[in-house]
Subunit: 794 residues, 2 copies
């Protein structure tokens, strides 16, 4: 066999193989064009007429032929080498191409029997695409074999790596559009190879599809020099193989040779690494492919006098006026017939027998690989009994503990008990968020250089830390979508970095739940520590509790938000979250030493209810209170209790009820959220007519948003974060935002009528105490001991 | 002069120069340590005692010596070459280093006379840092010379490029931490050099500060091979100069040589390009520096038996127990004395005279450069009269127009009239969002290869398009912060990508407004088109109207949200936004052909009021209505008017009031937002007791959030986006979300009492019409003509 200078075979395919793969590709292209354009006459048994054409032409042709080319060639390799492979479609707007391939290899008809291998089935295939009541235009959850929505760009490669972790036999082929390659999240994903262990993880094969244009602009990667482009990919640690051209036969041969070289190389890297499992860490130079072909390849060359193939004009629908312009209609027919459908489909309308020989069979088909329907492979986590990890408390509000540090011990044992299906992800904040007990049992996975001074850095480990929230989120999503479990821990303010990734994942979960053949996957769990109230080394720029607001715009049956006030409630909450399916759970909890309020038993009961009256802190004796002090979050809980203490001492006859909220969704009516409290229950706890002072962890508006339909809403007064803050002490932070104990007592006095002269005196004392606390802080640089060391009295 | 193999001088600094720059660096380091630790005894005139130490030690030492090293060396170059330069501190948590330098060069004392060059001034400098009532720990707006907050990481380089655009004499030195370099947005910023024109723009000098660690992990860039690292930077188009070591004298000489080479190269590139202004596009290979020095350099080598300098342990405060541990206290004193303060400061406590000779003078000081206080340089835009661009309408709701296309013509002329201070930014959506009239006067700026088939691609242009929302946002922020104007146009759903960047900018504006010496800058303007209701080629993954919810968590005096329903109101709104200062304006407007409701004069008046009754569409004759139909956004406005038309025909005696809202902030009480309506005004428009059906562009909850304090809130029923959608027709989208005209009529019937038998019949007709419309869409793939072509009747 001849080889090129770079050592690749020049013509690895026999004439017959070449003909077959080209036919397969033409079939996929034909089916793609058909989906975009046709309502009827799918096999072109008669000349195309306007009524065969869809009234609204929607879809993206430009990227589609390249996707089908890659898909067909991967099929050849899977069949030849019995590879376990899935396909991540970065240019997911090329939906019709992927759907065409899943139809050709038979998965689509298996899942949707009416869209079968027949003329009628093909007609349905065409009609349903981007059609009301049909399927979306993108590679969505509805597309078999997909774990990646054709939505927002940037996450294909991080999803692919997430899928590869802990799947040592799996290869994830990941097509990346050259448009997507410009996005920040994508640009930051190349180095994922630093975090992939060739012994215990699978492989990602990135395929940069360089088709030259995004929507109306050329792409950066297409317009820099070959030398710079290759230099870039070597810089990020890959061995790039270039395939380029516009002549199908040549590109088929080149691509086949490059893929053969890549899979040989991958096999070699795996074998080498696995022979030498106790050796030094090694970051292999994994192969990748740069595929340069024309945008809209094989489509119309020129339309209305301007070039289309190979330009940005091929991005969506190259012939736009097919229904009204006979010339366009003729061009469409010519275009479709150029694929020679008579050779590709049998008399019934199914793929010709020669085509059926190309693709792999059964679960080896990328569209039927169970990794891409992760719920099929999902196994429950083995969870140690969290109650054994509880913090013993001596009285309510009298013991100090660090909630996340207590949780860390349980997480450590969750990691130990699930060595193949649970990982902890974070942007270098696992230790900072005090979950470092994890390092008693595992390390941070890292295959680049390790120095003797490093700690807990190893080629294999269950902790994934890169300074990129995008990468952590993308990896975790890919890991979950392929049937595993995980936890993402991060700073509260900066989790907004992945707002939009959360959106895409939540929408995926929503779609997934409506598709009968998709199996439920594990919940996406966020643990947000280093929260707004305790940014000691940082300040204003690190203070934003709004992620929970953002999350709540998504469907109620998907999102859950928890604010456990102490260590034991955090344990109970996280146990619940790690058992979940199909949710996004957001847990906000503190890492700093702070008072503990609940025994383990109390925590279990409190979390089961989601919110409840803390009788030990209340003075209403189970009767109707004069005022309700409600709180959600650790810092607000502390201030509410300190306020309750002040009120108890100064106004002993005032009946105060203290309510703590762990599960924020309980505040909504049960008609709005499955966790919602019925109105009667809500009124029993919050009363129908008494003042409610609600000290809240986040922006006050969220509590109003959740409770505006409640009987007593007009009496609910919320204190929370109002964008005041800087580098200062913990108590100064709550004072700056009017959430402090003194302010809360003043609020009570201002809202409960008839408290008399005592209250007026107390109010003035509160004003003075507040002033004194601020003065002390400004003078001494720390909080007044009486404030900082306050405990709930015996 | 000797040179190295790479042609750099081996010892460009004379002994005297070396001594002076080292002294300057030592002084900055001394002042940095002092800020982190000391309350008193700033010049160490007596041995350190615990009471000289701050009670809470907060700040980041690790990156600080590197920052000061770079700052000192840049000062030398500025002075020697009379450079116009500003400094962007990517590792902005190294706040005390930058503050130290601004104090040394005198800017800080000029702006804060009490923190002057005296022992008392130095004491204040130390005490205020990270101290309650003092200054934040990060490089914040409070730091002279900064345009970049030390908050969330990832945006330093895009800010730097934004500052360089249209400032041909400016150089922006941009230090990038190797931690920050892992983030997606940063990784995607390197290619900004494709968009920088060496003739009309300034220069960015990236300096990768490779100090090896982020918080507790090594960094990727520090642990890959030298060859890969250099290959990466060549791949993204730079010429990297490596400076490395731990011996100060050697590093001083290397860095001086590298900077000399960089500034020579920059001068050469500029001169070449400017000699050849009509030549072919050229993307020069700009220089950059890779500076590898130990983290926490010159700090404690080892503490409590473990290595600190050169490890992640140097990240924050290397000696943590100084107040309580005498050994730590002694080490601190030894550390501080190692800088030989007696040589660095005069008897009064000011910098020694030798130091004052190093830094540049006046506005050449990076901390006093007016570009870094952009409001100083801000000039108003020359705005053509937008009323001349209005769309002539023939009756309300009877003319069809594309709002953004009409706006595009005005934007075109704004561009022409402001060739030096206005740019349009977008992720390849300027044409797609129908602002392509801009290309009649300008092009997309692009210095990489341009092919004959490209259109509107040129080395110089006012349109900046990269497929990265992060890059667009970062560039625009940098452009605004240095005193210019701009507009960011993007898809509504994907603007969430920059949620967190918006947060940081909004917080910066908030801080900026409280600092007397900072001048106001131009508003940050978003135009969100391709909105949730019209995702024709896309679907569910592209539908999210929640950015406006996100924005509204920031301070009311900063954020503005507008929903102009047609072309003329959009023109009026954008004119208003482009005149603004210190706001973030979010404008949501459609790009698709749709009905026009207001003449230019009506649009001006309607936008002035922000919301108002559309009498032409109402049947209440200025009296008390039976029901209010309110709307905000173009799609909801269409449905409300069509509903009003149905009601008018079927129930002619029903008094319907139609209210349209452009300025969403008008809905809030005037106590909550400066644009808010007083309660009496609100009640006059929305009534105190009649049903209000509000058809809203976004998530319904936002309207409740804005109006929950209003008298009539219990009667406000909102329809909006509720996470239902796919690739479908426009009318099917509103039906899926219960926002359609038929549903609104049903809502009216269900909520207005006493409508009688006629209404019951109408309700059934609505149910039938809705069903018929859906059936038609599902059968024919397009909306019923009667729905799609509906117009307001004569």
């Amino acid at each position: 066999m001849d080889t090129t200078q770079s050592g690749l075979a020049t013509a690895p395919l026999t004439d017959e193989e070449l003909a077959r793969i080209d036919a397969y590709w033409r079939a996929a292209n034909y089916l793609t064009v058909g989906q975009i354009y046709l309502l009827d006459n799918p096999l072109l048994r008669e000349p195309l007429r306007p009524e065969h054409i869809k009234p609204r032409l929607l879809g993206h042709w430009g990227t589609s032929p390249g996707l089908s080319l890659i898909y067909a060639h991967l099929n050849r390799c899977i069949a030849a080498r019995d590879l376990d492979m899935i396909f991540v479609t970065g240019p997911g707007h090329g939906g019709p191409a992927i759907v065409a391939n899943t139809w050709l290899e038979g998965t689509y008809p298996e899942l949707h029997p009416s869209v079968n291998h027949s003329e009628e089935g093909m007609k349905r295939l065409f009609r349903q695409f981007s059609f009301p009541g049909g399927i979306p235009s993108h590679v969505a959850a509805e597309v078999p074999g997909s774990i990646h929505e054709g939505g927002e760009l940037g996450y294909a490669l991080s999803h692919a790596y997430g899928a590869a972790f802990d799947n040592p036999e799996l290869t994830v082929a990941c097509v990346i559009g050259d448009g997507e390659a410009e996005t920040g999240p994508m640009a930051g994903s190349w180095f994922s190879n630093v975090f992939l262990n060739p012994v215990t993880d699978g492989t990602v094969l990135p395929i940069l599809h360089l088709n030259g244009y995004k929507i109306a602009n050329p792409t950066i990667f297409a317009r820099i020099s070959d030398e710079d482009r290759m230099s870039f990919f070597r810089g990020v640690g890959y061995e790039p193989f270039l395939v380029e051209g516009g002549d199908p036969a040549s590109v088929h041969q080149q691509l086949a040779a490059a893929l053969d070289a890549c899979f040989d190389r991958i096999a070699e890297i795996r074998a080498d690494a696995r022979r030498n499992v106790n050796g030094k860490p090694v970051r292999p130079r994994w192969p990748m492919i740069v595929l340069r072909t024309p945008k809209g390849w094989t489509g119309p060359d020129e339309v209305d006098g301007v070039p289309v193939e190979g330009t940005w004009r091929a991005h969506q629908v190259p012939l736009a006026a097919v229904r009204s312009n006979p010339e366009h209609l003729a061009m469409l027919e010519e275009w479709m017939r150029s694929y020679r459908p008579e050779e590709l489909f049998d008399a019934m309308g199914g793929p010709a027998p020669e085509l059926l020989g190309l693709h792999p069979q059964g679960a080896r088909r990328m569209s039927a690989n169970p990794h891409a329907n992760g719920g099929l492979l999902l196994r429950d986590l083995v969870l140690p009994d969290y109650r054994d990890y509880g913090l013993a408390i001596e009285g309510h509000g009298r013991t100090t503990g660090e909630a996340t540090r207590v949780l860390g011990k349980w997480i450590r044992d969750v990691i130990s008990a699930n060595p193949d299906r649970f990982r902890l992800f974070g942007p270098d904040e696992v230790a900072s968020n005090r979950l470092d007990a994890a390092f008693e049992t595992t390390d941070r996975q890292w295959t680049a250089e390790i120095l003797p001074t490093d700690e807990h850095q190893a080629p294999h480990g269950r902790v994934m830390e890169a300074l990129s929230e995008h990468l952590c989120e993308g990896w975790l999503e890919g890991y979950l979508l392929t049937g595993r479990h995980g936890l993402f821990t991060s700073y509260e303010a900066f989790i907004h970095i992945v707002d939009s990734m959360f959106n895409q994942h939540a929408k995926w979960l929503d779609s997934l739940s409506k598709i009968p053949w998709r199996q439920p996957i594990a919940s996406l769990n966020y643990l947000l520590s280093s929260h707004v109230w305790r940014q000691d080394h940082n300040g204003f720029s690190h203070q934003d509790p709004g992620f929970i607001d953002h999350v709540m715009n998504k469907k109620a049956d998907i999102v859950r938000v928890y604010l456990p006030p102490d260590a034991n409630t955090l344990l109970s909450t996280m146990d619940h979250c790690l058992r979940g399916r199909q949710y996004v759970n957001v847990v906000v909890a503190g890492k700093q030493p702070s008072l503990q309020y609940t025994s383990m038993d109390e925590a279990v009961r409190h979390c089961e209810r989601g919110l409840g009256i803390w009788e030990w802190a209340s003075t209403d004796d189970g009767q109707s209170p004069d005022v309700v002090l409600a709180c959600a979050g650790d810092a607000p809980t502390l201030e509410v209790l300190a306020a309750a203490d002040l009120l108890r001492q100064a106004l002993p006859r005032l009946k105060v009820r203290v309510v703590n909220v762990v599960d924020l969704m309980r505040l909504q009516p049960d008609t709005e959220h499955p966790h919602g409290l019925g109105d009667r229950q809500f009124d029993t706890i919050f009363t129908a007519d008494k003042p409610v002072l609600f000290a809240f962890h986040g922006y006050p508006m969220l509590i109003h948003r959740l409770t505006y339909r409640r009987t007593n809403h007009d009496n609910i007064h919320v204190r929370g974060y109002k964008e005041e803050g800087t580098t200062t002490t913990p108590f100064d932070m709550v004072v700056l935002n009017d959430l402090d104990r003194y302010r809360l007592v003043m609020d009570v006095i201002d809202r409960v009528p008839g408290l008399g002269q005592n209250a007026a005196g107390l109010r003035q004392r509160m004003v003075d105490a507040r002033h004194a606390a601020r003065e002390h802080t400004r003078t001494h640089g720390e909080d007044l001991p009486a404030v900082a060391e306050w405990q709930w009295p015996h």
